[in-house]
Symmetry: C2
Subunit: 174 residues, 2 copies
């Protein structure tokens, strides 16, 4: 990749400035999808397989991901590097903006809302857990459920709630 300028913002845009790279990272980080198939079939936006393959190669080349050694026909585990883990604030900033200024699905928005309410320290907590998952760091001692556990619980609860509402709405609409 030829660099267009030495600006740090441009440097990030050159790598992540397309319609899919960030979404792939999102699914790896928040969805814990670490295999090609999971990323492909679990994609809400419906990424094509060649695009996914291309982005994974580029992210590995950029040092954001590592690919577990796997021969053809075997599952290859993708892991975040430290630089990949530190893209989390970028994802957060994008989602935070989208939450305020773009329409969207309530259930999906609840995850972003939960992070916002939890405050900036929560991001560090998430990144610590990613280091455990992806880099084999020793888990930190804590009481209660982990950060991702709480985040997923909030998302599941909201999905439950909206599902109920959709039913009652259907009933009321009769």
């Amino acid at each position: 990749m030829e660099q267009r300028s030495g600006c740090p913002i441009n440097a990030a845009v050159e790598l992540l400035g397309d319609r899919w790279s960030v979404l792939v990272l999102r699914d790896i980080i928040f969805g814990d999808r670490r295999y090609f198939r999971g990323l492909l079939t679990g994609s809400v936006e419906g990424i094509a397989s060649n695009i996914l393959a291309d982005r994974l190669v580029r992210l590995v080349e950029a040092g954001i991901l590592t690919r577990g050694t796997a021969a053809r026909g075997q599952r290859a585990l993708y892991s975040l590097t430290e630089s990949g883990i530190q893209t989390l604030p970028i994802l957060y900033a994008l989602g935070d903006w989208g939450l305020d200024w773009r329409p969207g699905d309530d259930a999906l928005r609840s995850r972003q809302q939960f992070m916002r309410d939890a405050g900036p320290a929560f991001l560090d907590e998430l990144m610590d857990e990613l280091r455990v998952r992806h880099l084999g760091a020793p888990p930190k001692q804590r009481r209660g459920p982990g950060a991702f556990e709480r985040l997923d619980a909030a998302y599941a609860a909201e999905r439950e709630r909206t599902a109920c509402e959709s039913v009652t709405g259907t009933l009321a609409g009769r």
Copy 2:
């Protein structure tokens, strides 16, 4: 623009996920370039005029910018809306990541370094000044130079320093 999903991150990516939109915002915000010509000729990365025109239209349509009423042949002033001002944390997050994980020019990196050192409250200060510049908000009373003034001074000082070094380096290299 058709929405691929209701995810807030995706919503932001749909608008800003290309190779130029973020850089245009960067030049408007940090470079205070508010006219077509300034954005075109001042672009470090060398944006083409048709791409710039297209991105300005899209950003205006998305409600991130407003275009001052100007007939053909007259200067049209572009202003940030509140939603445009609030993209600043996204730019910051991108630059912060680029500063750590990508090579770059020292002078351009110094601006990002300054913001990082100044802490998160500095971002709010910058956004307040943008509201004065772009939305006509009343300037806040403060002592000393403004946030952008300090930021530009840091950038100028670093450019001066590296220019000196380049001269001494040239002399030493003879």
